[in-house]
């Protein structure tokens, strides 16, 4: 797969990373035109059949239009009920097992010694020549060292410091929304707020913050990995941009450190301060991997949870009334939003040995997909799972953050951002009405929105 990585590693000290990526890009273009290597799949949307019309072995939940066409609930329900450990032999991403019940997902997620997160956590592989290395896709002990180096950036203590700043930025965004006029909540609120947040975490130039969201979208939309709409060209161009910009940031901070200045609590400063990662820039694919992981991890997920809260409360208007009557339900509702949405639909593993689960034998080397989006709607584990309940008991019991060593590192940051957003929304607005059908992302991985048109009503003074 990643034939260029060793070359890049060796030449890292001599040639800037972004130029190496450009070189790899040219190489891939030439290779694709001459050798006709593995073709990049192109996904054309067609109507997904009713799940009951299919033989069980023909069900393919890797279809990147399953969420957009709102077929996912019936597809996963059938798998949970009839074939909870399901084998799809011929998907465009190759053969894979689907794990669809809550308990079985917990088992796979917990047993990192049986199921490897390497080489990547999407159903399909990474774009050829761009195989970045990130700790979400590493097994212990390497995973542990890398994660420990960066998790301080989202540690609750650090978050407490940032809360006032995040709130003031949220206030600023909400105070400038048009009242009584339709606007796109995705663009104007969700993307805006998460971009501001990421700029803070990375200590990234604030005026250039919109690049972060764009880069993240490109990184997460590879067709071969997730069935997204990205292109190889765009992926290489963006990888080079990210590498250039973040190398520059790294060198600036490194110079500060060398000059004896105190470093901040941003991601790069933390990496520079840690023994295991202070030379990370000399390992370009890892360097890029860590940046992209935090970009994507902190972007799509929270963005889509922000939007889905609005969507959910419009689908369940009684819950909106309940919430307005008792805003102290916000923290509980935040967990419920994250469960109901499940912004990342799954994580993928590879069996390290033959493993028997629920009567099926998964063979060593097989791909295993834990469908969090299905486990979060598993009637066996969650009461009335399709209902959105702001006061749900045990709302924190959901799979969206994963479990085990790869449990979401940014979970507390995500919860805080959502809590602040809802506290500030309820202060200002009486109603947030969805005025058009939501539009969804094309992906089997990112379960999210491209557009949600809403109209807001200001609170009347009483």
């Amino acid at each position: 797969m990643n034939i260029l990585a060793p070359v890049i590693e060796k030449s890292a000290a001599l040639i800037p990373i972004h130029l190496q990526i450009k070189g790899a890009h040219v190489y891939q273009k030439v290779k694709k035109s001459i050798v006709k290597g593995k073709p990049v799949p192109v996904f054309k949307e067609s109507l997904i059949p009713d799940v009951d019309s299919l033989a069980i072995e023909d069900i393919d939940v890797s279809n990147p239009f399953l969420f957009r066409q709102n077929k996912w609930q019936s597809y996963f329900k059938r798998l949970r009920d009839e074939c909870p450990i399901h084998y799809q032999a011929n998907s465009p991403f190759g053969a894979f097992w689907s794990i669809t019940r809550y308990e079985d997902i917990m088992f796979v997620d917990k047993h990192h010694e049986l199921f490897s997160a390497e080489p990547i956590i999407s159903i399909g592989g990474q774009p050829e020549g761009l195989a970045i290395e990130t700790f979400i896709a590493m097994d212990p002990p390497k995973h542990d060292l890398q994660r420990q180096a960066v998790q301080g950036v989202v540690a609750p203590k650090n978050l407490k410091e940032m809360e006032a700043l995040i709130r003031s930025r949220a206030e600023d965004v909400l105070d400038n929304l048009p009242i009584g006029m339709p606007f796109d909540f995705v663009q104007d609120v969700s993307i805006e707020l998460t971009s501001r947040m990421l700029a803070t975490l990375f200590d990234f130039p604030y005026e250039e913050r919109h690049k972060l969201a764009y880069w993240s979208d490109v990184a997460a939309s590879s067709p071969e990995a997730t069935g997204g709409t990205g292109s190889m060209n765009e992926a290489f161009i963006v990888a080079a941009e990210v590498a250039k910009k973040f190398s520059l940031l790294w060198r600036e901070k490194e110079a500060k450190k060398a000059a004896g200045e105190e470093l901040g609590f941003d991601l790069i400063s933390l990496l520079l301060s840690n023994e295991n990662t202070k030379d990370l820039i000399g390992r370009p694919m890892e360097f890029l991997g860590n940046i992209v992981l935090l970009l994507v991890g902190g972007n799509d997920t929270t963005r889509n949870s922000m939007t889905s809260g609005i969507h959910a409360l419009n689908e369940f208007p009684d819950e909106f009334i309940k919430l307005k009557q008792d805003p102290s339900l916000i923290p509980n509702m935040v967990s419920e939003i994250i469960r109901w949405q499940t912004p990342l639909a799954y994580m993928r593993r590879v069996a390290k040995e033959d493993v028997e689960i629920n009567g099926k034998t998964i063979k060593k080397g097989d791909k295993v997909v834990m469908w969090y989006v299905s486990g979060n709607r598993d009637e066996r584990a969650i009461d009335q799972p399709d209902q959105f309940m702001v006061d749900r008991k045990n709302a924190r019991k959901h799979l969206s953050f994963g479990f085990g060593v790869h449990r979401c590192m940014g979970n507390r940051l995500a919860e805080m951002q959502l809590r602040i957003l809802w506290e500030e929304l309820l202060k200002r607005f009486d109603n947030i009405e969805v005025v058009d059908d939501p539009k969804y992302v094309q992906s089997n991985f990112v379960k999210g929105y491209t557009q949600l048109m809403v109209k807001i009503t200001a609170k009347t003074a009483c």
Partner: protein, 106 residues
């Protein structure tokens, strides 16, 4: 019947009766002790039922297992006597034990 005392980060104390066979996490949840989340429900898979056992009691309850260590390594508040309370089955031998709660569960 013996009891165990949870000390919150703020210093607030809560005593609960020992129920043999239940885990320390379970009695914390049953009594609504603030500062214990227990997101995974006792699977040793999330790290949000972290407690720091009083040093004089660590021989009685035992030290963290390798599995617990993997989860506890993620929190900057990990101490030598840190444990995941879901992995501590209660017994009358723990009568009088105190455990501190971290400032944050994560």
């Amino acid at each position: 019947m013996g009891s165990i005392t949870f000390i919150e980060h703020s210093g607030d104390q809560h005593s609960v009766d020992i129920e043999e066979g239940k885990s320390l996490m379970q009695v914390a949840m049953d009594h609504g002790i603030p500062g214990v989340d227990a997101d995974c429900g006792g699977e040793c898979a999330c790290g949000t039922c972290h407690v720091i056992v009083d040093g004089s009691w660590i021989d009685t309850v035992g030290s963290m297992t390798e599995e617990e260590k993997l989860m506890l390594d993620m929190t900057p508040e990990k101490a030598e006597t840190s444990r995941l309370s879901c992995q501590i089955p209660l017994s009358e031998a723990m009568d009088g034990m105190t455990v501190r709660l971290p400032e944050f569960q994560m």
